[in-house]
Symmetry: D2
Subunit: 430 residues, 4 copies
Amino acid sequence: MLTEKDFEITTLGPCAIDSPLRRLRDVGFIEDSSRVRLQPKIGPQYADGMELSVEEAGPRERIHFEPRWSCGAVVTCGGLSPGLNNVIRSVYSELAYNYEVPRVLGVRNGYMGLNPESGLKLVELTPAYVDHIHDMGGTVLGSSRGPQDPAVIVDALVRESIDMLFCVGGDGTQRGAAKIAAEVQRRGLDKAIVGIPKTIDNDIEFVYTSFGYYTALEKAQEVLRGAHVEARCAPNGIGLVKLMGRDAGFIAAGAALASQDANFVLIPEVPVRLDGEHGFLAALEHRLATREHALVVVAEGACQDLLNRARAAETDASGNILHEDVGLFLRDEIKRYFKAKGIAINLKYLDPSYFIRSVPANSSDRILSDQMARMAVHAGMAGKTGVMIGSIHNELVHVPITTSIAHRKRVDTASDLWTAVMRSTGQPAW
Amino acid sequence: MLTEKDFEITTLGPCAIDSPLRRLRDVGFIEDSSRVRLQPKIGPQYADGMELSVEEAGPRERIHFEPRWSCGAVVTCGGLSPGLNNVIRSVYSELAYNYEVPRVLGVRNGYMGLNPESGLKLVELTPAYVDHIHDMGGTVLGSSRGPQDPAVIVDALVRESIDMLFCVGGDGTQRGAAKIAAEVQRRGLDKAIVGIPKTIDNDIEFVYTSFGYYTALEKAQEVLRGAHVEARCAPNGIGLVKLMGRDAGFIAAGAALASQDANFVLIPEVPVRLDGEHGFLAALEHRLATREHALVVVAEGACQDLLNRARAAETDASGNILHEDVGLFLRDEIKRYFKAKGIAINLKYLDPSYFIRSVPANSSDRILSDQMARMAVHAGMAGKTGVMIGSIHNELVHVPITTSIAHRKRVDTASDLWTAVMRSTGQPAW
Amino acid sequence: MLTEKDFEITTLGPCAIDSPLRRLRDVGFIEDSSRVRLQPKIGPQYADGMELSVEEAGPRERIHFEPRWSCGAVVTCGGLSPGLNNVIRSVYSELAYNYEVPRVLGVRNGYMGLNPESGLKLVELTPAYVDHIHDMGGTVLGSSRGPQDPAVIVDALVRESIDMLFCVGGDGTQRGAAKIAAEVQRRGLDKAIVGIPKTIDNDIEFVYTSFGYYTALEKAQEVLRGAHVEARCAPNGIGLVKLMGRDAGFIAAGAALASQDANFVLIPEVPVRLDGEHGFLAALEHRLATREHALVVVAEGACQDLLNRARAAETDASGNILHEDVGLFLRDEIKRYFKAKGIAINLKYLDPSYFIRSVPANSSDRILSDQMARMAVHAGMAGKTGVMIGSIHNELVHVPITTSIAHRKRVDTASDLWTAVMRSTGQPAW
Amino acid sequence: MLTEKDFEITTLGPCAIDSPLRRLRDVGFIEDSSRVRLQPKIGPQYADGMELSVEEAGPRERIHFEPRWSCGAVVTCGGLSPGLNNVIRSVYSELAYNYEVPRVLGVRNGYMGLNPESGLKLVELTPAYVDHIHDMGGTVLGSSRGPQDPAVIVDALVRESIDMLFCVGGDGTQRGAAKIAAEVQRRGLDKAIVGIPKTIDNDIEFVYTSFGYYTALEKAQEVLRGAHVEARCAPNGIGLVKLMGRDAGFIAAGAALASQDANFVLIPEVPVRLDGEHGFLAALEHRLATREHALVVVAEGACQDLLNRARAAETDASGNILHEDVGLFLRDEIKRYFKAKGIAINLKYLDPSYFIRSVPANSSDRILSDQMARMAVHAGMAGKTGVMIGSIHNELVHVPITTSIAHRKRVDTASDLWTAVMRSTGQPAW
């Protein structure tokens, strides 16, 4: 149960310095007292948590760090998401052009780049370095997975005189950022650790839409269209598409909704029964019998219970393929089912995998990543630490990292998104 | 000053019929008592209007019209916006498949298609008719501008036994819808008039993002990239791009922010001074002197005062071209300025005009138009009338049409959007 | 060894009817005596086949069939290729609008649609039916694989009074067309069978570029870009992409050349050694050691000898996965190799499969498919039969189907294409 | 009348050095005796010029310049065309990686960059410099128009020890290259001047398709689709699109053919009559009367006689707008015509202008520009000078620059391209 305490923001110390943004026009300074309600709805059914609110992000008129003597660094961790380069570029731009911070560094290959054992050097960001990167997918700084010892990281921050570290990444990255912030605090250092949430799966709590998500939908939807075309062009054609989403089905649900052509959407949040009169396979058979083609979308994390059971059953069998992935599992289950029924089908399996996440960001993600990056810089300059930029009700906010990582966002089956998926697919219950 | 009364929704009568959606899964029924606050922020500076809220949109468990005997019709009016076909398709799907309404009609060429003098016939929508339309730009029903006599329209509704009319369009269209709703009420008829907001310029109040807007940004941004490339490849290259936005600069601001390459963004909401030490032209000269290229974005409605003055001045001059449009005006002012200064420039003018609005909807607009359409159907089936689907804080809501059209949305210069534009361009005050 | 006889075109009988195209402007009638040399090069090394030539395609001033009493039908067979709908539309347009043929039919689901046992009905093509299809991927008529009894097909042609059958498909389809033409001739019927070559793999002889090929390259190249981005963003990143091309490596070679980022391209035409000092794996290791990332492209038909050997070796082993496909095989071989060496790698495997072939045609393929379709109609109206539209030296020509199917096009390792691939990748010999 | 002499290639001197390419695999060396016939067709109507042939381009086994002591430079001039960066990158790659030439320079802003008065410095090309440029539109070196004194250029070549100059540009650029080559010869210097043809309009003789052309078609076709959508969605909708093509209508013709939706295509090569019973305006009226919408494509160089006449007529009139451009002229003529007839129309005018040429190259243009660049390097290394890379019958060849610039390519109204346009539009004669 969340309480007000969960949304208290830690600040390094007093904000006694006039923001250099004051020289600029149309700045829209925000005060710390400005907050956004967690729950904008009212009504009998929305009683809980109504009083909770989150600090609004934005430039502060008085800041903690003296820009002229400050140094910021940005690190990108984990898997790719469209917009990473945009974040790097906007962190640099806001620090260098607007706050006139003289030194902005890029960390190579994730947290690993702050570990001297990696042998990696920090990159001094310059206008030339970031000039074109916003039009490219990936991250120019490189990325990597896995944690590093917080003490080693903080040593590096001290050695390199880094005042603000901007940690761009998902759950694991933010977990690391929280530990770094704690280590900084333990040593009594004056350094701000600011998280920028990145998750192609859109599964970070207090982040309504993460950058890269809509770009991924765009490409995923293209693939769905291809699968739909394939399905329609062959007798009893089935297009089966596996999409990203290990724990949350946002990409599968969103792409299916955007496509409007999907007939079945299987996500981790909704258990699926394959067999039986009301199972998925019978529903698929019915669809073919009435419409002659079908489009099935499956998130990589769906049907894990079925996979596990199949794997367990395999131990004493032999010669059969043990599936690592639900797409291939489902492909074979479908084939097996229709073969047993003596119904000829044309199944086309598509797995775009990394393709949907390695492309440049689309317009809305370019805007979102720019804004998240600039808000993170404002937070850092104001000495806020252990804080992540969140997004609720179209407002960017400050969320304590520890609060964010304590929760995981999942597709809510009562939400507009999922009910729309159910309506547009006409998918039955199983 | 808005009051609670402004957000009261008119209902035709009792909702005594069980929704057929009850047979479906994951429906997420919404009660009329569920409301969304207009202002989710709290803090000293957000005192006003805090208590106002808007009815949440969504399916009702008990509805007004008996689906089996109902008829819905959809009409698209005004200029194109990506997503119109998606709206048509989803209105049809929700009515026909989910509510099992037997007769869904399409009105040809806007309100004109309900005027018998046009000679246009209503289209009976079918699965085959709407099958592929969501992948195409424009509106299969056609559109037109201009009002029709509400009495004539209501006569048509009566003649054709249309119970629900879904009016997709902008300011003028919603104004018309309000008049039709009033005429229906005056005659004491049992017909619901529901508005679905459509504006490529994103300038309808109580609609945070209108469908088509992000698609337009995507294409506009492509054009900005082209102009930027042109500017960079020539000595003293200037890319000048005119974008849509007669009264509101959302497209210009959004595309510039997405592009990150724009140096100047001129919108209707911010007056521009061309001449003088702190004017736009001097700033442009400074940019060329220091960076050798520049990208200028101008909304079609910007600088209207300057155009008017120029036009007035032209009356006694002769032989000169009177500009109808700000793009050409600015192009010539820039040329004149640098010619007078003896500075050679390479100006490339681009005006994508209708191109950015006639493309198919991107993923987020496909999702948004689907959801708005389905919410409109829920509202209609529940007998709500004179109501428009709005969108605040990522929630779809019911807004009385009369309240919506009494206000116009403009770019707020203190908003995150505009301050981000100011930060990313580094554009000075003039 | 090809002789003049191989390029003799069979004609049904005299061309005694004035072409209705004579009423039109800029028709560019072609005479049967107009021919295109197989070999446009001269020089000591090009002595062979210099005298051979092929009949030029194009409208004839006098034709065989009386348009007013004629009927044409189009059938699409085999796998999808971008441009199929464009072919259907242009066959229809040329027949209906230009020749004013009153009845044009579409065959459902390939040759199967001409077999009464399928229960499929022929489609009467109309302006409304073909209106939008050129903007969509796939084939509106549907497709299927596998042969049908030529006698059954010819029975259908007789029953339906089809004078001209346009067979759009690859090797197998053309083989079927040749048999149908032979059966027609055996029965002494007056029916023209005309082939339109379709192969996403670009592997039909006498067809320099088949429609759909460049569209497929465009999408394949996008996927390569994604894989390259993934490879660059991780330490020792390897992007491995499997592309279509069972017998010919045109897609892999072309996409790699277009991408300019590929480091290794494995195609069926060039045997690959994996192990050993000069093998692929050592070269890949060298690449990682010097550049830290690599992009590998493999055609589905590459390394078949290695796969067969691996499969043979598997028979007595147990529990291991038997790979059906070279992409997964290569993925595992690479992992195994580096694991044995104790080198950590980040391998990302992408298999776009059907995605690259189910999209709408790009501009050049739209043009090519339009022209091939119209040329096919001209050939059919002129009573040419057993003929396929070919394309050499940017000229469309008539090739006897039997001659075409007697040869298979493969990537010539001395060609500009492959030498350019070798130059752009810097790939060594193994 | 062309003679053999027109295709003789000038060589600087003996080729006595073994090509370093001999160390590579699959090189496909070409001998100077290998030639491509100008006319691959045979038949009574193709008698002329049948014996003429052109030297085949490609790597020579023995070359003129010693790679280890050589220096090459590349210059890009005139308007943008998709593929310029690809050419720069591939010239660099072939020189640096394959020939192992130690110094490759880039000239800034066209020929101007070789004039010391410009103050521009040459750029030393490096792997990092060219790394990403093939994914971007424009030219990283910048461009400019206008000639420079050949003597000044040659002075620069001497001063900078440039052995090979690769001139990428259109008609004017090649004219300049020919003059530079002549000046080099006059001074008896050992420097190769090699032209790489660049023309978005595709109007250079002996170049079947210039790089950038198909990319431009792709974007132009997108705009046509938008205009078509606009036209269809309004009563009596007319989409009018102006496309590039000052002297040759290849873009208008190609885009219209790709689109298949154009009803009228006006190009410089075909005179247009506006008025009268058989004029364009009457045909347009007929189209609206029967089909209710129309799509008109006009090349910028079309109707110049009409514009000139209109301009002449304007001299004594007053207050009216003198059109600089045919698009606006046609727009107003159409409006005037229908206004006079009392017919309400909805005309949407689109002028994508530079948009279609500033985008990154598509796959086929990426391949073409790569190959042209590498062929140019082979020619330069072999000491060929005053030579331009041409492309006939899908073969790359060496054409003397003076021969190329003596002719201009135009749309041949008897060609497959134009007859296909006529067939697909159904456009009448006027």
